[in-house]
């Protein structure tokens, strides 16, 4: 296994620049997830690492060796595609063996490697079947098997779970995390699903419009988002963003007046903000409590999930607000509720969308 360093990677298709000067240092045996909305450049970045696309500028360094100009097979990577890319006319055995056949590996060693991969992926009794005879999850495992047999330095996954249904996706997330720990491999995984990113990653790269918004552990991104984009992308349901005006700053933080007139003093670094500035206060739906006195919400829709009641409504000024309340919360469509919030749980973003560093944020769990 190996480290993976991306050094100042840029990529343009004609006049359109899709990646802007991306530099990342991925450690050995790390599981890193590239996440971002459609068109943010995450798949392009993965394809550049794989050698399927050429970077306009920058270097790819795998295990300390510059592989920017190397053929994909010489980079020591293997890739699992979104469509699985299984050969429909070949059996599961031959699909897994494909890279080894290309290498003209002797049959005994080839069989041993395929069998080993099949054992790991519980495909031993499926080796003679064709991909068309397998379920979605089994096909996914065959695609992973084809990656494993090559013993690559780095595994690349391009949205491998997006074709599966929700239940199977949950199962496969666990299987992939288990596989990572079994293989002790460096893995780079692309997804647009922030739940996959949060649950599987050692570290997450949030990409937006071809730029890295933030690179950190899932809880870093959750508790200390650097930008409004990261704050609203990470977390489910999305963070609420409420327009506010700075009333003053002191040693305790910044005092803001939010839409609807509520005043709060929030414990954040006040560098760069002054009285009268427009800011946005970020409050996660799960950080509010029913019965406080900070926010008046007119309830539009209540989704009862059993353990939780996801409540959608509007603040007095018309801003949409979502609250994640207990399953038995006394809320009803068309009603009005008041919500409380701990100032320490609030995030403040300046007019550019950059965060004011929180000074009373919770300790991160390692």
């Amino acid at each position: 296994m190996a480290t993976l360093d991306l050094c100042n990677i840029s990529k343009s298709f004609g006049a359109a620049q899709v990646l802007h000067d991306i530099s990342l240092a991925i450690e050995d045996k790390e599981f890193v997830v590239f996440v971002g909305p459609s068109g943010c450049g995450k798949s392009t970045l993965l394809r550049i690492i794989a050698g399927l696309e050429e970077a306009t500028e920058g270097q790819i360094v795998i295990g300390g060796e510059d592989v920017s100009a190397a053929h994909p097979v010489d980079r020591g990577i293997s890739m699992v595609f979104q469509s699985y890319a299984l050969y429909p006319h070949l059996s599961v055995f031959e699909n897994i063996a494909f890279p080894l056949r290309v290498q003209k590996m002797p049959m005994p060693e080839l069989t041993e490697r395929v069998q080993k991969a099949a054992d790991i992926l519980q495909l031993t009794d499926k080796l003679q079947l064709k991909p068309g005879q397998l379920s979605g999850g089994q096909r996914q495992r065959v695609a992973i098997g084809r990656s494993i047999v090559r013993n690559p330095k780095v595994f690349l996954f391009d949205e491998p779970l997006s074709n599966l249904d929700a239940a199977l996706r949950g199962d496969m997330r666990v299987e992939l995390s288990q596989l990572h720990s079994d293989l002790d491999a460096t893995m780079v995984y692309v997804t647009h699903d922030q739940v996959e990113a949060m649950t599987m990653a050692d570290r997450i790269v949030v990409l937006n419009a071809g730029k890295v918004e933030q690179f950190g552990t899932p809880l870093e991104l959750y508790h200390h988002p650097k930008t409004k984009f990261v704050a609203s992308f990470i977390g489910q349901p999305n963070m609420n963003l409420i327009p506010a005006t700075v009333q003053g700053t002191d040693g305790n933080g910044v005092t803001v007046e939010m839409e609807g007139g509520t005043r709060l003093t929030l414990p954040v670094d006040t560098t760069g903000v002054a009285k009268g500035d427009s800011v946005e206060v970020g409050i996660r739906p799960e950080n509010v409590t029913l019965g406080g006195a900070a926010l008046d919400v007119a309830v539009n829709v209540v989704e009862r999930l059993g353990g939780l009641s996801i409540t959608y409504g509007k603040l007095a000024g018309g801003t949409r607000f979502c609250a994640s309340l207990p399953g038995n919360a006394a809320v009803a469509q068309g009603g009005a509720i008041t919500l409380g919030v701990d100032p320490a749980d609030c995030h403040v973003f300046d007019a550019r969308g950059d965060v004011l560093r929180r000074t009373a944020a919770p300790e991160l769990v390692s």
Partner: protein, 291 residues
């Protein structure tokens, strides 16, 4: 009106059409094949027409010539079609233009194309003969369609010229339907161009290759206009295939009974081809994982 009657009414025009255009002529052909029929009238002769054919060495030669013609022409069409489709599928600049340029042999009327080839094969005015003379390959004009062997192969070249574009376009369409990820996955695994072609492209388009091989065989077997315009089956029957022989016998010599017997044999052979086609297509689809 009951649902059944309404259904029958709906298919009645099509049934009538098939009865008039296909069923009745077929039945009439089978009936005539048991007759000695000409301009003077008809007389029942039983299986005599078939017996004569099976005992005739000339007819035997015609059958073998037809199969040889079909085998050679279809093989060339498939090989050239595969090469053409591969080139047209490659990411080369201007491929859209080449895709259009491949069409004319198929699009222009066969008669017009064949007249062009008549000029090409002409010994005195044709560019082929002229080029051969200027290169010193021949001493004088060479009339391609005047010699048995050269006439046969010249007719095949023209038949291939007419048939290749369609085969190419079918293969190209099949190649474009192959999931691009398969090639990228193979490329990441280190598979070269030839390896990818052999282990991905060919198996993935195999159902289309089988379809085109068998359909092309049927069409080539039935190919009439090209031979008739170029050589009328000559010289000395060198290009007379079953279909040309049937025409010459029935229409040229007014031997409707004998011609019909030949036509029935053609129907039986093409029926067998059709069954083979369905059989192989089912097998190939099953083996290569097509839905």
């Amino acid at each position: 009106m009951s649902e059944k009657t309404f259904g029958l009414l709906l298919i009645a025009p099509a049934m009538l059409f098939i009865a008039v255009i296909v069923a009745w002529p077929l039945a009439e052909t089978i009936r005539l094949s048991f007759m000695e029929a000409g301009l003077g009238g008809e007389e029942y002769v039983g299986l005599a027409n078939y017996q004569d054919l099976l005992e005739s060495r000339k007819f035997n030669d015609t059958i073998w010539r037809t199969f040889y013609w079909m085998f050679l022409s279809v093989t060339l069409k498939l090989i050239l079609g595969l090469i053409g489709a591969t080139l047209l599928n490659a990411a080369v600049p201007g491929r859209a233009l080449f895709r259009v340029l491949v069409m004319p042999p198929w699009v222009i009327p066969i008669a017009i194309g064949c007249i062009g080839w008549l000029w090409l094969y002409n010994g005195y005015f044709g560019v082929l003969s002229g080029t051969m003379m200027s290169l010193g390959i021949t001493d004088g004009p060479f009339e391609f369609l005047a010699h048995k062997r050269s006439a046969f192969y010249s007719a095949i070249v023209t038949d291939v010229w007419v048939g290749v574009p369609m085969v190419t376009l079918f293969f190209l369409a099949a190649m474009q339907g192959v999931n691009r990820d398969l090639y990228e996955a193979a490329w990441v695994d280190g598979a070269g161009r030839w390896y990818r072609f052999r282990r991905i492209t060919i198996p993935q388009i195999m159902p289309v290759i089988v379809s085109m091989a068998l359909l092309s065989a049927i069409w080539t077997f039935n190919s009439f206009e090209i031979i008739w315009i170029l050589t009328e089956g000559g010289p000395r029957s060198a290009t007379t295939t079953l279909i040309v022989d049937t025409y010459k016998t029935a229409i040229g010599n007014y031997k409707f009974g004998e011609g019909s017997a030949r036509a029935v044999i053609i129907v039986v052979l093409l029926g067998l081809f059709s069954l083979l086609y369905l059989f192989f297509l089912g097998k190939v689809n099953k083996y290569y994982g097509a839905k």
